[in-house]
Structures are given as C-alpha cells and as structure tokens.
C-alpha cells in the first residue's frame, strides 16, 4: 500500500521549550521535521539547503529577526508556506508579516489542539491558493 508522503517541516525558534512544543504539534500531523534552528541567520542558510515544504518561524530571535529571515527567504522562494510564531499579536507585527509574505500566523499561547487547527486551516487555504 502506498504511504502518504509526509510534509517536510523546518522549525525556527530560540526558546527550547517552545520549540519542543511546536515539534510535538507538528509530529502529530503526519509531518517530518527536517531541520531546526534558533536564530534567523541560520534559518535562511538552512532553508536554502533543505528547502522544506513548511517553515515555522519565530519573530523575536537573536542575530537576525524572523521578519528579516522571512523577507530574505520570500525573495528567493515566493511560494513557500511560512507560518510565523509569536507572542506579540499587535496590528503592526501582523500587518508587517503579511506584507513580507507570511502565509500564516500562530500565537504561542494557543493550546496544542488549536495550533493544529490553525496549521490545517492555513495549509488548506494555501493549497487552494496555488490551484
């Protein structure tokens, strides 16, 4: 029987406990974690190398922010599925991320079930936007 192909995911988050939480969410969704890092600079380099299907990207990180990493990745890969992770959900942050090309947005204070639901909803809308 043919197995359903797993979605390749990369996680960028500087807080270890949040990264562990996100990994738990992603692993429960038939996804394969192909890479993880804790800063924006490494995120850009790793993305170019791994080219994952889905990128979960924190905003506030050392060395290079998630917004800068988003802009750099988006420039070269315009159709990538990128979900921003953040504790800050002020209008400026959300609008900036939309302008820079984020596909989705997840508040870190969401319960696991809700995070899963948001990823599914956004993924479905993203797939539909490509058709």
């Amino acid at each position: 029987m043919k197995q359903k192909k797993k979605i390749r995911v990369m996680i960028v988050e500087d807080e270890d406990h949040v990264r562990t939480l996100i990994k738990t969410v992603v692993k429960s969704m038939n996804c394969e974690i192909v890479g993880e890092t804790n800063n924006g600079k490494d995120a850009v380099l790793m993305y170019h190398k791994l080219k994952p299907t889905m990128l979960l990207l924190d905003i506030n990180m050392p060395i290079k922010s998630g917004k800068k990493a988003l802009a750099e990745i988006r420039k070269r890969f315009p159709n990538t599925f990128i979900i921003m992770l953040t504790s800050l959900t002020d209008s400026e942050t959300v609008e900036d991320c939309i302008k820079l090309g984020a596909t989705g947005f997840i508040r870190k204070d969401l319960p696991i079930d809700k995070m899963r639901e948001v990823i599914k909803q956004t993924w479905s809308a993203y797939k539909s936007s490509l058709q």
Binding site: T89, D90, S91, V94, E95, I98, A102, T103, G104, F105, I106, R107, L110, K114, V118, Q121, T122, A125, Y126, S128, S129, L130, Q131
Partner: protein, 54 residues
Amino acid sequence: MILKEKYDLNQMLTEIEEDENEQDKDVSQGKNIPQEIITELMINNLKQTKEKRT
C-alpha cells in the same frame, strides 16, 4: 456665570458602548489580536493573492 448642560446618561453609555464595539472590530488599533481574527486575515490574504494571479 456657570453654564449647565443636561446630559442623557443612557445615551452617553450607549455611545461609549458603540465606540468600544467599533474599536474591537478595528484591527489597526489592536494590541493583542485574537488568533481567529489573524487566521481570517491570513486566509483572506491568500484568497486575494489567488484572485490577483488568475
């Protein structure tokens, strides 16, 4: 001379409530936007991107 104006307290309260409701709907004023509203914004953005492309 002190001018006295009469205010309708109920009307004032209604106006305050209406202002608060309007502000809740206005994302540009949001400091802590709920996940549902952000997801809706993101999905609408994807739909618009698709429409622009087709």
